[in-house]
């Protein structure tokens, strides 16, 4: 029984990580089709911002939100200075954001040094039979579901969400209907950045903040969003569920390395059989 609970926890924990790191990318890459190679560094900035806030005495939970907002604002600045000139130019975007990524890693290393900055995980652990499960891990699972629900509600039920979805579907028609396309793109990019910054902050108590933090997650995030296919939210959820189940079970039975390898292997198989991703054959609106 406690074995089963342990597996469920591992899967849930892995799911929360997949969801948190890919949701921002699902917006920026999935919806906007901007290949942002600096996405991992947005995660890292969120982690640093959260650490600085927490070290300044701000409660950790509030630091998460502040970090999300700060990276959101940073994303808007990046969009205005860099991305807005490059919509539709995939190779150029790739190079520009790669440069940005190098700049951010170098800049943060120069300012804060390469060492890991720290905030300890609050809340301790709960014993389940033989296993101690960190309460913070359970909180992360809860946060992941909450963020998912919030993002869904935001896109589905707000006027802004409707405008964004419309604009992404057909920018020209939206513009003809009086939508300020440039503003919508800017805010959407900022929203995706905010989700990423928030994710970085939530990861801090388990991984800490260090300049190359993003590199470890960027590939996973892209694989999740690409495997998810063209429906960003549903795709990301299904891909995350699949990968976290594999990662959680295989990673626990054998080793973390084999777990990650299996995820990559399944992703390759998946994209071979469903080149458009899991949601490739679904149509919008389903």
């Amino acid at each position: 029984m406690d074995q089963v609970a342990n597996y469920l926890f591992q899967i849930g924990f892995s799911f929360s990580i997949f969801i948190l790191i890919s949701l921002g990318l699902a917006v920026i890459f999935g919806m906007m089709k901007v290949i942002n190679l600096a996405q991992g560094e947005f995660l890292m900035l969120g982690a640093y911002f959260c650490t600085l806030c927490a070290q300044a005495g701000i409660p950790l939970w509030l630091s998460f939100i502040l970090a999300g907002l700060a990276v959101g604002v940073f994303g808007i600045i990046v969009e205005r200075l860099l991305i807005q000139w490059l919509y539709g130019r995939i190779i150029d975007t790739l190079l520009a954001t790669w440069g940005l990524s190098l700049l951010l890693v170098g800049g943060v290393t120069t300012i804060f040094g390469p060492q890991t900055a720290s905030v300890s995980a609050p809340l301790g652990m709960v014993p389940i039979g033989d296993f101690g499960v960190p309460v913070y891990g359970l909180v992360m699972i809860a946060i992941a579901f909450t963020v998912l629900a919030a993002v869904y509600a935001f896109w589905r039920y707000t006027r802004f969400g409707l405008i964004v979805r419309g604009t992404m579907q057909n920018p020209n028609i939206s513009a003809a209907l009086g939508v300020n396309r440039s503003l919508v793109y800017m805010l959407t990019f900022g929203f995706g950045s905010m989700l990423t910054g928030f994710a970085g902050a939530v990861l801090v108590p388990i991984v800490g903040a260090y300049p190359t933090l993003g590199i470890g997650y960027i590939a996973k995030a892209f694989i999740t969003v690409i495997s998810g296919g063209h429906l960003p939210l549903i795709g990301t959820i299904t891909a995350s569920s699949l990968f976290s189940t594999i990662d959680g079970v295989v990673g626990t039975v054998s080793t973390s390395v084999i777990g990650e390898m299996s995820v990559l292997f399944v992703a390759i198989l998946l994209l071979r059989m469903l080149p458009l991703g899991i949601t490739g054959r679904m149509t919008r609106g389903t």
Binding site: S118, D130, G132, V207, S256
Partner: protein, 414 residues
């Protein structure tokens, strides 16, 4: 007295010669006061600079102190620093520049094994001398290379003596970084644990970018070892210490390591996360010896930085001191003379961590190993010292007296 012209010139030139004697003597003496050049190649910038920053300062301090005390063989030392920027490409570029253009007598530097392996063939080709001041996996057998840091057998035997034999923590679970250092270290941990009646339940390796240790922690919880041994390395792996404390806890299971602390991990973790971890090391700031206290206060005065110095900082002074002693014994700073002096096995100094002696057969260093335990002040409490531990893993495979031209890095048989 009346001088004719010829007498005037005679007397005059004599007087001139006499008057200019101090100047002539001084200009003749310039040769013996020409500085001895010391190259230092470390990562001042880039992602690995955490291991180098204090070492750069400690080396500079050691050189300045030698100069303040009158130099070496009557000549001042000149430190030439090169920033290798955490990139092996610069190690090879700068070591070539140091040996050929700046003509240094010795190169101190390299942090990672890969940076050392980039430099070693170049140092051999141009007949230089390399002091590698870092802990590493052992086995380098090269007379132009001197290792002043710990090697696994030297460090882990005392650790396992203490943990398995003295404390009776027999069931061990090993976690290690997934590269050369981690694999070799894990093998020695298994060997020493078994030899002391212990049982190694599992060995797991983690690539350097792994941050999610939850699955490993649940396997540890299922296996129920007495002690978890860590040979994890680098910024990402710090996450393990954090996740271990928030799930199992050192109150319930012992955690020991040979690599913790070298990247100043304990200054980046919370007091609870670092408290109680057991470590085998050749130097921590908290050693209660006069030499250690003296080193820390000199370092603080020299740099104005009153933070924790740590093992990699101390290696900077250790390397310079050992090399300087070898130069004194050789009476000559040229690489070949220093290498000849080193091979006698008499080069020995007392430094901040105790006595260091270069073993002439392997060019590795005999040193004290201290078992310490993390405390709630983000520092260490001394438990006990194992004196003058031999680099036995490298000694088993390397004999520079018999094969002076050897340049192999052996993988010690475990």
């Amino acid at each position: 007295m009346k001088l004719n012209r010829r007498q005037f010139f005679k007397a005059g030139s004599g007087a001139l010669a006499f008057a200019s004697m101090p100047y002539l003597l001084k200009s003749a003496g310039i040769a013996s006061e020409k500085p001895i050049k010391v190259g230092s190649i470390l990562d001042k910038t880039g992602i690995l600079n955490i291991y180098s920053l204090k070492q750069i300062q400690a080396s500079a301090m050691a050189v300045d102190e030698i100069n303040a005390a009158g130099g070496l063989l009557g000549r001042p030392l000149e430190l030439v620093f090169y920033d290798s920027q955490s990139d092996g490409q610069y190690n090879s570029q700068y070591v070539t520049e140091a040996l050929l253009k700046d003509k240094v007598d010795v190169v101190h530097g390299g942090i990672t094994s890969s940076s050392r392996e980039v430099m070693r063939p170049i140092v051999s080709r141009f007949k230089g001398l390399l002091f590698y001041n870092s802990l590493y996996e052992g086995g380098v057998c090269d007379r132009r290379h001197v290792s002043t840091g710990m090697v696994p057998a030297q460090q882990l035997e005392p650790l396992m003596d203490y943990v398995v034999k003295e404390l009776g923590q027999k069931r061990v679970y090993i976690l290690a970084a997934d590269y050369n250092y981690g694999h070799i270290t894990a093998k020695w941990m298994q060997k020493f644990a078994r030899e002391r009646g212990g049982e190694d339940l599992a060995v797991e390796f983690f690539p350097l970018d792994v941050t999610n240790f939850q699955p490993a922690i649940s396997r540890i919880q299922a296996a129920k070892p007495d002690v978890v041994l860590s040979a994890l390395v680098g910024g990402a792996h710090i996450a393990f210490y954090r996740q271990f404390e928030s799930s199992i806890g050192k109150a319930n299971m012992m955690l020991a390591s040979g690599s913790y602390g070298v990247g100043l991990e304990h200054t980046q973790l919370s007091p609870e996360e670092g408290n109680g971890i057991i470590l085998a090391t050749s130097y921590v700031d908290d050693l209660q010896t006069a030499e250690a206290k003296d080193f820390v206060s000199r370092f603080h005065n020299y740099t104005g930085d009153t933070g924790y110095v740590g093992e990699y900082g101390e290696y900077g002074e250790r390397g310079i001191k050992l090399w300087a002693e070898a130069v004194r014994q050789a009476g000559d700073s040229s690489p070949d003379a220093v290498i000849a002096a080193l091979s006698k096995g008499t080069v020995s100094v007392v430094g901040a961590g105790g006595r260091y002696t270069v073993d002439g057969k392997t060019n590795h260093t005999v040193m004290d190993i201290h078992i310490v335990k993390g405390n709630m002040n983000r520092r260490f409490d001394m438990i006990r010292s194992f004196e003058q531990r031999q680099p036995s893993d490298t000694q088993a495979v390397c004999d520079l007296h018999a094969n002076p031209d050897d340049t192999t890095q052996y993988e010690p048989e475990v």
